[in-house]
């Protein structure tokens, strides 16, 4: 009934399923982060990806008949397309969460081995149980959050540097060989592209703020717990 076709290169539902499984062990802020990521970044990317940037090279019009000039100037101005950069950003940003899932799987494997020797019917509860975020899991989780922050910030900075900001000009001028002289090039849908770039940059910033808040929350909670333990002693 409803169209379940995803973009050809990415299988976002599979990634979502993987992230949701790991998210059971995360804090409330982590769960909010996942929703913001998927609704405001992945969905907006899918809305914009094929349609707005689909004809970016075919509608990149130039005021010249010189063969090859268009290709060369397009390559100079768009070393990597926005869409590809965002897809890479989303993939890299989701990867640290997999670190946590690998650690949880490693913990469960150790417990599973002990359980198999004991009662087998508890295997299902082992799979479903939620581990407390303490000890080594806490460190893994903090590392994954910091790596996530670095990737988000890094990709946003890369986009800003490559395209000189988040705006898209209507007219670009190029005189790369084989263009005969300074040639005018017109980008297709520059305003719409700028709007979506700003939207995605805002969503990225919100995700970064959530990640920082989660790090601060975990550190504060850890300090409070340690204080309680010390007071008890």
């Amino acid at each position: 009934m409803l169209n379940f076709v995803s973009t050809p290169a990415m299988s976002w539902p599979a990634l979502y399923a993987q992230l949701v499984r790991v998210n059971r062990h995360s804090t409330s802020l982590g769960k909010i982060w996942l929703s913001v990521l998927f609704i405001f970044q992945v969905m907006v990317l899918i809305v914009a990806a094929e349609s707005v940037w689909g004809d970016e090279q075919s509608d990149f019009t130039c005021n010249t008949l010189q063969p090859g000039c268009e290709n060369v100037c397009y390559d100079q101005f768009f070393p990597v397309s926005h869409i590809r950069l965002w897809s890479l950003q989303l993939v890299f940003v989701s990867t640290p969460t997999l670190l946590v899932s690998m650690y949880v799987a490693y913990r469960n494997r150790g417990d599973k081995r002990r359980l198999i020797q004991g009662q087998e019917e508890e295997l299902e509860t082992l799979k479903e149980r939620k581990l407390l975020v303490t000890g080594a899991l806490w460190w893994t989780y903090i590392c994954s959050l910091v790596v996530r922050l670095l990737f988000e910030g890094g990709f946003m900075y890369a986009l800003y540097v490559v395209y000189n900001g988040f705006q898209m000009p209507r007219l670009v001028q190029c005189n790369q060989w084989p263009c005969p002289n300074l040639v005018d090039y017109f980008i297709s849908r520059p305003t719409e592209k700028a709007i979506f770039t700003v939207l995605l940059a805002t969503a990225s910033s919100i995700c970064m703020v959530l990640n920082m808040a989660e790090v601060a929350y975990l550190i504060a909670k850890h300090r409070v717990q340690r204080q309680t333990v010390q007071d008890k002693d």
Binding site: M1, L2, N3, F4, V5, S6, W12, P13, Y16, S28, I32, S35, F38, I39, F40, V42, M43, V44, I46, V47, A48, S51, V52, D55, D59, T61, C62, N63, T64, R170, L171, D184, Y185, F186, I187, S188, R189, P190, T191, E192, I195, F196, L199
Partner: protein, 274 residues
């Protein structure tokens, strides 16, 4: 466009909504998302390729298209659908928070987690206000960006590098107009549903507040309440309020009963355990 993800989220929210909320969800799925996916996307598919201008000047078409359509109508429509569906998540988050609290304290804290009362009432109201705000905002954006919901077949453009005023023709203008009207009408229907739902939950809340009227102690129905100290002493709270606790020791002859004999007590005047 993968709307299945949004569909899954909203189906989850269905459990916590009122009757009108469920009607709203059906309208959104059937008349908006389905219409968008099945038809609207195709109508706007070749919008730039088929935007033809009466000029050979390279770049004029690109610039005129960008001038008249800073954001495509179909993309604005999709963003509207995403933004309008998101506030319902607040309600789902609140119910999840209630479940988390019950699990944390390991006892039942709420009579019915999904009942719209207390904090959930505020969350629900805020989500309704946000949804209505997004709908109205999108309609205003459409109106001001595209000068109304009309799609003209001919536009005149004199942006640089067009040499002079140039005629540009939009593809499928009438079909786009029809879909924009459908979009506008369903949007307004959803706004009306949101307002009606808001009034409905306010009315339910007011009724609930006013139905908690004061009832005098004597008129209260008999309510059994277990004593904290002993499970055997089951005493009516009203009976205890109405009757004195009487001495159950046998009376000497001629001695008047310490307290009046009432319906719920035996001859000695002691309250009857039930």
């Amino acid at each position: 466009m993968n709307w299945g993800f949004l569909e899954n989220i909203l189906s989850g929210v269905n459990k916590y909504s009122t009757v009108i909320g469920r009607i709203w969800l059906s309208v959104v799925f059937v008349f908006r998302i389905l219409v968008y996916v099945a038809a609207a996307e195709q109508v706007w598919k070749d919008e730039q390729k088929d935007f033809i201008c009466n000029t050979e000047q390279p770049g004029c078409e690109n610039v005129c298209f960008d001038h008249f359509f800073p954001i495509s109508q179909v993309r604005l429509w999709a963003l509207q659908l995403i933004m309008v569906s998101t506030p319902s998540l607040l309600v789902a988050l609140h119910v999840a928070y209630r479940e988390h609290r019950e699990a944390k304290h390991k006892r039942r804290l709420y009579e019915d987690k999904k009942n719209i009362d207390g904090g959930l009432f505020c969350t629900y109201t805020i989500s309704l206000i946000c949804k209505t705000g997004f709908e109205v905002g999108s309609l205003l954006a459409f109106y001001f960006l595209f000068n109304g919901f009309d799609v003209p077949i001919l536009l005149q453009c004199s942006q640089s590098p067009c040499p002079n005023t140039v005629d540009c023709y939009i593809a499928r203008a009438t079909e786009k107009k029809i879909f924009l009207y459908i979009m506008g009408c369903t949007s307004m229907l959803c706004i009306v549903l949101n307002i009606v739902e808001f009034m409905y939950i306010m009315w339910m809340r007011i009724c609930k507040c006013f139905s908690k009227h004061y009832v005098p102690v004597e008129e209260k129905p008999y309510v059994r309440r277990q004593s904290r100290l002993s499970h055997e002493n089951i005493v009516s709270s009203e009976l205890a309020a109405n009757t004195k606790v009487c001495n159950t020791e046998p009376r000497a002859a001629g001695e008047k009963p310490a307290c009046p004999v009432s319906e719920g007590s035996d001859q000695s005047g002691a309250p009857v355990s039930k």
